[in-house]
Amino acid sequence: MKMTIKLMATTCLMLPATLAVADGHMADEMTIVSWGGAYSSSQENAYHIPYSEMTGVTIINDESSAEAVAKLRAMNEAGNVTWDVVDVVASDAIRLCDEGLALEIDFDEQLAPGDDGSTATEDFGDLLVSDCFIPQIVYSTTVGYRVDLVGDTAPTDICAIFDTETYPGMRSLEKRPINNMEWALLCDGVAKGDVYDVMETEEGQEQAFAKLDTIKDSVIWWSAGADTPQLLADGEIIMGSTYNGRLFSLIEEQDQPVAMLWDAQVFDLDGWIIPAGLTPEREARALDYVRFATDTQRLADQSKYIAYGPARASSAPLVAQHATLGIDMAPHMPTDPANATNTFLYNYTWWADYRDDLDAKFQVWLSQ
């Protein structure tokens, strides 16, 4: 019985599908979900406006990326997915892909090749961390410090965070184990290549928490990306971690006495996913948009509005000047060789396994 219903349902679903694909019709309206603020407006300028002009499609913006995973799951359960393209960080994309909530992408088939002739797979390279995730930007979590509050010797390496003798005062760190535990181990003498091996063991986790214990009283824990820039601007902290784009706008656009410590910056990715279960018209439209918005030129265009590095290798030479400030953007990219002398790439697969466990331990540690 159940089987027959399913068969019937499949046939019914397939019928319009074949028809729609046959005449290549795509939806005239799409909902794109992103983070809001300066980031969304950079996408608006670089992708949405040109795409609308080219195709006449109406783009509706939704600023729900922070809750995207939970909302997509709820929409999927309700059988009514109202989003067409969703901007998420890579770890969320992996989660969505694991849960079967995102569409798997055939990168070479469905994405534009690079301007330099490379295939999409070659162009994105290592950044293709999930079958469902189309990378858009590389951003980094790094440390900014108040030039006027750190004394005569400005910090040059990440361990300044743990050095409360040379740099007394409050610092801010993100309220989650990711990044903080890596930095703690790194500054406790663990070699960069061994960090995750050490962190897999109970003793390694204790070692990281013990290192964090040494600064626990001088840390303000943030959970919103805007927190650290505000705390720095108010002089509430002398240094703190946040996203590099936020620090860029604090330094260049708001002219605050703040400088960046690129050492041990942690690269992370942000990009698009297409929800699973869209109607064929909407799916075709979403794929068409994503193909346009992630080509070499468009990714380079976005860096005119925000200091995040384009995810394609072929876009890097095209990075130009800031749209309103007129300064060269290349030196502000986290991927710029001068900034990227010592970097980490967020270890997605490792954290997908250890996140639940370490988050619980981190919360206990915080409340002790």
């Binding site: 499949t10 995973v69 694991d98 331990k361 915080l366």
Partner: protein, 551 residues
């Protein structure tokens, strides 16, 4: 006794009942739209969400054969299960990987044991590459009928063949369903996949009678246990299998055990290690802090409500607007405003520093310090009670400020419990003032005058005459504020630092970040039960009839 009859000759009682029933039905029809709306949009979603706290069908749905075979495995043996279980796992995992449900199961089990998520993701990817195509090749070479989809379909419709090869029939059915569901092809046109041949091989080797006789004794067998071990050596870890076995029933109390810092072990309930115990602390903290917020609201709201109720109308209206103003401001704006005020370089601390530098400050500081230490003494007592509740006796350094030593220290008013209490009190204050106001409005001020004219002092007149009449308002305000505050999570997240966060912050985390909805539902259910318990207690002590939201 004679029966009283109505005009139509029926007994009056029956007739009356009928009229009343019709009336009740009509009344029910009138409220039906609202009733249905509430049921559909409120009661059912909540019930559905709460049900997730025990629901656990995912394991048995994704790995039905494995779970059935695993019954025979002794979890105390210290050994991973034998080949039978791995064979079942192979069939289940190939199918699950096609349906893409294996990763979902992986994330589910990863809540219980770190590493299972990638174990399933990795295995789902490699399970297609197991060298079971050997079997396929040999069987198809033995007789071409075995490579004919139509012949397979005919066999599998034949009850004799099905009876002879029960496992293969089962696997073939699952394969056929999968082909229809995911590949959108017809099984009658598709050659069965390797795992169907694997099943056929295994049954033939055990002596079953295939439709066309096969001699498979020369085929080199593939040990699936070794294949899985090659993908990830964790498959031979008995702990992984223990978790799968413990969580194989369709319903589990595991989520509830997690939410009270317990663990579902093979022998029963175990206490979690110290570095993973968090929820009970958070529940107690949520209750105590919500209680303090409620208390602060009563203390601050009562005089304001009194003013509102007793000032001349024009002034009262002005004051009312001030009370309502926060309602019209965004929650985030209000919380951020508190940040600006309370932070160490903020308005309040800056003012205190400035005041300290004036001669007045130099003169009054010792007095202020005395007062501060009095407050600290109070905080110390609360901390001590808090620690005792948490089972810690002694060992706390009490707060004490020695001015001569410390000089002026900027106060830590935010990113701790103080910050949460201040900001939440401000946000929830209107919910205390409004019910208090509407109750006080109905208390005639002449009662106070009467009491005084009968010789009562101001205090007696208030305490014996006015206050008892305002209790229904306090009750309503307290219930509102308390229930709202235990569910708040945005404000505590922003101003609570590490020690000022509530259980609702963890619920929000599990709903939106970790996607552990089962645990979130269990935590939510516990919270709901606690609130209902407190409500019941309130009803027993004060009486719910004494709660008034208005006139």
């Amino acid at each position: 006794m004679t029966l009283v009859l109505a005009a139509d000759g029926r007994p009056l009682k029956t007739s009356l009942n009928r009229a009343l029933r019709r009336q009740k039905l009509r009344a029910l029809m009138l409220i039906a739209p609202l009733l249905i709306f509430i049921l559909v949009s409120f009661v059912m979603p909540i019930a559905d969400m709460l049900f997730r706290s025990v629901e656990n069908e995912i394991v048995v749905e994704t790995l039905p054969r494995t779970v059935a075979t695993l019954d025979g495995w002794d979890s105390e043996s210290g050994q991973a299960p034998d080949e039978d279980v791995f064979t079942a796992l192979y069939f289940d995992l190939v199918l699950a990987a096609e349906y893409k449900t294996h990763t979902r199961l992986g994330s589910r089990l990863n809540y219980e044991m770190t590493g299972i998520s990638s174990l399933f993701r990795k295995s789902g990817r490699s399970v297609d590459d197991f060298p079971t195509n050997n079997y396929t090749d040999v069987i198809q070479a033995a007789d071409t009928s075995y490579g004919d989809p139509a012949q397979w379909a005919a066999w599998m419709a034949d009850d004799v063949v099905r009876a002879a090869l029960p496992m293969t029939a089962n696997i073939y059915d699952a394969w056929a369903k999968m082909i229809v569901d995911t590949e959108e092809d017809l099984p009658i046109e598709e050659v069965p996949w390797d795992f169907v041949y694997t099943s056929l091989y295994l049954e033939v080797m055990e002596g079953a009678d295939p439709p066309i006789s096969l001699d498979l004794s020369t085929v080199a067998p593939v040990t699936l246990r070794d294949q899985f071990y090659d993908v990830d050596k964790d498959w031979l870890d008995p702990e992984v299998w223990k978790i799968i076995k413990i969580y194989s029933p369709e319903y589990t109390n595991g989520y509830f055990l997690n939410s009270v810092d317990r663990l579902k072990g093979p022998e029963g309930v175990e206490v979690r290690p110290d570095n993973e115990q968090i929820y009970i602390t958070l529940f107690i903290r949520t209750m105590i802090m919500s209680g303090s917020i409620m208390g602060m609201c009563v203390l601050l709201g009562y005089p304001i409500a009194w003013l509102l109720a007793n000032l001349p109308a024009r002034k009262a209206n002005m004051l009312m607007i001030l009370v309502l103003l926060p309602f019209w401001t965004s929650l985030l704006v209000r919380t951020s405003a508190w940040k600006v005020l309370l932070q160490q370089q903020g308005v309040i601390n800056d003012t205190l520093v400035w005041y300290h530098s004036t001669w007045l400050g130099q003169f009054l500081d010792p007095i202020f310090m005395g007062f501060l230490n009095l407050c600290y003494a109070f905080v110390n007592v609360i901390t001590w009670v808090w620690n005792v509740l948490n089972g810690i006796w002694g060992g706390t350094d009490g707060l004490y400020m020695d001015w001569a030593v410390a000089g002026f220290e900027r106060l830590a008013l935010i990113n701790n419990q103080t910050g949460t209490v201040i900001a939440m009190t401000h946000i929830l204050l209107p919910f205390m003032i409004l019910p208090l106001f509407s109750v006080m409005k109905t208390i005639p001020i002449s009662y106070l005058r009467a009491a005084k004219s009968l010789g009562a002092t101001n205090w007696t007149a208030f305490w014996r005459v006015y206050f008892p009449q305002s209790i229904p308002g306090i009750g309503a305000g307290c219930i509102l504020v308390f229930i709202l505050s235990i569910g708040y999570y945005i404000t505590p997240e922003l101003v609570g630092g590490t020690k000022g966060v509530f259980i609702s912050n963890r619920i929000a985390y599990h709903i939106s970040s970790s996607l552990n909805w089962g645990l979130a539902a269990a935590l939510g259910t516990i919270l709901l039960v606690i609130v209902m318990g407190l409500y019941w207690m309130y009803d027993k002590i004060v009486g719910i009839d004494n709660v008034k939201l208005g006139g």
